[in-house]
């Protein structure tokens, strides 16, 4: 029996979590898992607090992240693995003074996604459990299939105006080959991260944080730092945002599909899921796309945590679930409903904070030099990484940044960097851990 006082406390911490995370997520390049790492350390020192409160705090921070990072992804162009595709249309909107529209649509998608995630888990939990049971044993080839399609479906962006036919072919295949190069390089980084101990053992729970920041966020920060000073034009604060029924439906469908793939299949994030989803629903139009990005991120992050709370099964997906299971294993339907309620209330509350922040940034972004924002983001990320992981963390971040830079300079897909987790997980599932460890000299 869960006491009413505990429920209220959970909601209170939820409101605190969403508020803090929405604000923190404005820092360009900051991933919520980096912040959650420090929350875990704090909680370990204060274990007298009920772990359900930690779970509520964690999941509400994820909502806050989905909302707040919409602002930083659009205005500061620093995506994470689940929002890499958001950068391109939002950049166009920013240049046209329609940044607020991009932010609003993505944020709205996040709230809708949170609602859908709750409904999915509560009402279709049994079905999802069976689906996970069916798919988990096939995860090896499913991940391989996803990676293969993401690479094969990439369109060569070179205009093919070289003088010779071989020149045209070569120019196209430089981009595609570099996509393969990124997959291999990120995979090798992942192998060392997963199969050996690069960071201090007592910080292993944050072992991937530095790599993710380096692969996805840092290259954009550095690019913003060294690119020509961009005057972000004055942004229009519209009275209304256009999103018709068809765009809403298509965006929701794409978001649900993309987020669900990331939620259900180990190591596949919403970024990979979005690749499939866009093709599956033949998504066209920027508004639908940006809305779907918000939906998919929410479903991916929040749905993954809520899966953990389905009673009687232990489905751990995503970093937040791993953090929660460091403290306790949820067992009852009541805990699921408490967390789901916290999600919904936090999403509504977070929406108001998000709106205030979005309007504030919309009105002032044209006065802000994005180089200073990039410098600030770099300093914060370096500090947090060093604080959590020490020099080893900075070393991993540097290598991740080098790999993450390849997609930017060769025009290939950034999502290939997700091989940092998919490759080692596939190797582990195939029972080849020792073989690869031997090959890479870490056996």
């Amino acid at each position: 029996m869960i006491e009413f006082g505990l429920v209220i406390t959970c909601v209170f911490f939820g409101l605190c979590g969403v508020s803090l995370a929405t604000i923190f997520s404005l820092i360009p390049g900051l991933h919520i898992y980096s912040i959650l790492g420090f929350v875990v350390l704090f909680w370990l020192e204060n274990v007298f607090l009920n772990p359900l409160i930690f779970a509520a705090f964690t999941v509400s921070m994820l909502i806050g992240y989905c909302l707040g990072s919409s602002i930083s992804a659009v205005y500061f162009q620093t995506p994470d693995d689940s929002s890499v595709f958001l950068v391109f249309p939002s950049q166009k909107y920013l240049d046209e003074g329609r940044g607020y529209e991009a932010v609003y649509l993505t944020g709205l998608g996040a709230v809708v996604g949170a609602f859908i995630a709750c409904m999915l888990i509560i009402f279709a939990g049994a079905f999802l459990t069976m689906l996970v049971d069916l798919l988990v044993v096939h995860s090896f080839w499913i991940i391989a299939t996803a990676m293969l399609f993401v690479w094969m479906s990439e369109w060569p962006k070179d205009p093919a105006r070289q003088k010779t036919r071989l020149g045209k072919l070569g120019a196209a295949w430089v981009q595609l080959s570099m996509g393969l190069f990124v997959i291999v390089a990120a995979g090798i980084l992942g192998i060392y991260l997963f199969f050996s101990q690069l960071v201090p053992p007592e910080r292993s729970f944050q072992g991937l944080a530095a790599a993710f920041v380096g692969l996805f966020a840092f290259p954009s920060l550095i690019q913003n730092l060294f690119s020509a000073k961009k005057d972000i034009p004055k942004q229009n604060l519209g009275e209304s945002i256009e999103l018709n029924r068809g765009e809403f439906a298509q965006g929701t469908a794409a978001g649900v599909i993309g987020g669900s793939i990331g939620m259900l299949i180990p190591s596949l994030t919403a970024g990979v899921g979005n690749t499939f989803a866009r093709h599956a629903v033949a998504q066209s139009g920027d508004r639908s796309f940006m809305f779907s990005q918000g939906v998919s991120r929410s479903i991916y992050y929040i749905g993954a945590v809520l899966l953990l709370f389905i009673p009687g099964v232990l489905i751990r997906r995503g970093g937040a679930s791993l953090f929660i299971t460091m403290f306790y294993i949820p067992e009852t339907q009541g805990e699921l409903l408490v967390i789901a309620s916290t999600v919904l209330i936090s999403a509504v509350f977070g929406w108001f904070i998000f709106n205030l922040l979005a309007k504030l940034f919309t009105k002032t972004i044209h006065r802000i030099n994005t180089r200073y924002i990039a410098i600030f983001g770099i300093i914060v990320m370096l500090s947090l990484t060093y604080w959590m992981l020490g020099p080893a963390g900075l070393f991993i971040l540097a290598i991740g940044t080098a790999i993450g830079f390849i997609p930017l300079v060769f025009n290939t897909r950034r999502i290939h960097c997700i091989a940092v987790i998919t490759i080692p997980i596939m190797i582990s599932m195939a029972g080849l851990t020792f073989v690869f460890s031997q090959f890479f000299g870490i056996a």
Binding site: M130, H138, F140, W141, A160, N244, R245, A282, S284
Partner: protein
């Protein structure tokens, strides 16, 4: 059909083989499950070969564009007319490549070509700006209407009575070839010329099967007949699935290359660029994959028989989705399908989907 649909077709075909699905349950055989994504690879391969290889290797006798600044339609119309005349006089096929015009902010300047067969005129018009997602920016047309009309001499046969748009990514190609007294215009002649053939599927199936057998033999393992046939049929099934699905559309393929040399027109049964058709197909393929995974599991996870499975995972959800689309979606223009427009859109969407 869209690339994902073709890819999923290959994956789906592979999951019909219990050998590869059941391998997931045996740690010693788990690598065999890689045949499933390989099935997807071969399902996607025909388009991959065309768009990543063929189009770059196609020779173009003339490469034309209206000019970035000039936006002069006469530059295009004159050359097109000249090529038609030259194809007639020289009796050799003439290939032309129409280049796109990339603009800032992921926009493109569209221009259109229309062959007016009765008048023997080629008409080129400079159009509006269009996004990579094919959204037209209305009001972005040139201030002065830029249109050029040039006459050509011979009789031209061109099955498309509508405009050909040159807009995003890589521009289209035409081949003008003389057949008797008529010049035939083939649109994107390199597409589906050899890659979308049933014979290629058989060839790849044999090659991969033999290669797999040889590799295993080098490691002192003899593949059984069932295993060899499984590998071969997964490959063949992937490619054939792609070809057959494309044949249901409008453009068609050259099914028996190298025995035949021309594309056989499609059956026109499906609007392959239709978003709903693609979604429904992908949905059904996914459900079939789950059906196979479930029925080949040591113990069925979903405790439904096959009929219940199909009803619960295909009929029921699709009914809701399709009903929802027709009840709530905004109505279209109700434009009747026209073969030429369908064929043009089929190829355009294949390029645009990326």
């Amino acid at each position: 059909m869209k690339g994902l649909t073709h890819f999923m077709t290959g994956v789906c075909v592979a999951t019909f083989f219990p050998l590869v699905v059941k391998a997931a349950y045996d740690p010693n055989l788990i690598l065999l499950t890689l045949l499933i994504p390989i099935g997807g690879l071969f399902g996607y391969l025909p388009d991959f070969l065309d768009f990543k290889f063929s189009r770059y290797l196609e020779r173009a006798d003339y490469t034309i564009n209206p000019g970035y600044h000039e936006l002069d339609p006469w530059r295009v119309a004159n050359v097109v007319a000249k090529c038609i005349n030259e194809a007639y006089s020289s009796q050799k096929p003439i290939n032309i490549k129409l280049e796109t015009i990339r603009m800032p902010k992921s926009m493109w300047r569209r221009y259109s070509i229309l062959f007016r067969l009765k008048e023997r005129e080629v008409q080129v018009k400079i159009g509006p700006l269009i996004s990579t997602g094919l959204e037209i920016l209305y009001g972005s047309e040139p201030e002065e209407e830029k249109i050029a009309v040039v006459k050509y001499k011979p009789n031209l046969y061109y099955s498309y009575e509508d405009v050909t748009n040159v807009d995003i990514w890589d521009g289209p190609t035409f081949q003008f070839r003389r057949d008797g007294d008529t010049i035939h215009a083939d649109f994107i002649q390199w597409h589906r010329r050899w890659s979308h053939s049933l014979t290629l599927g058989i060839l790849f199936g044999l090659l991969v099967g033999l290669a797999a057998g040889f590799l295993y033999y080098m490691n002192d393992v003899m593949l059984s007949d069932v295993e060899m046939l499984t590998i071969m049929f997964i490959i063949i099934g992937g490619i054939w699935g792609h070809v057959i699905v494309d044949q249901l559309g409008w453009l068609g393929s050259n099914l028996w290359w190298p025995i035949t040399g021309k594309r056989k027109t499609g059956m026109g049964l499906t609007r392959s660029m239709d978003a709903m058709a693609n979604f429904v197909t992908t949905f059904i393929l996914t459900a079939l994959i789950l059906w196979n995974l479930n029925r080949f599991a040591p113990t069925r996870i979903f405790p439904w028989n096959d009929l219940e499975f199909i009803v619960m995972l295909i009929v029921f959800p699709l009914s809701i989705i399709i009903a929802g689309k027709y009840l709530f979606a905004e109505k279209g223009s109700g434009e009747k399908s026209v073969r030429d427009r369908e064929e043009m859109d089929e190829v355009s969407m294949e390029i645009a989907e990326f």
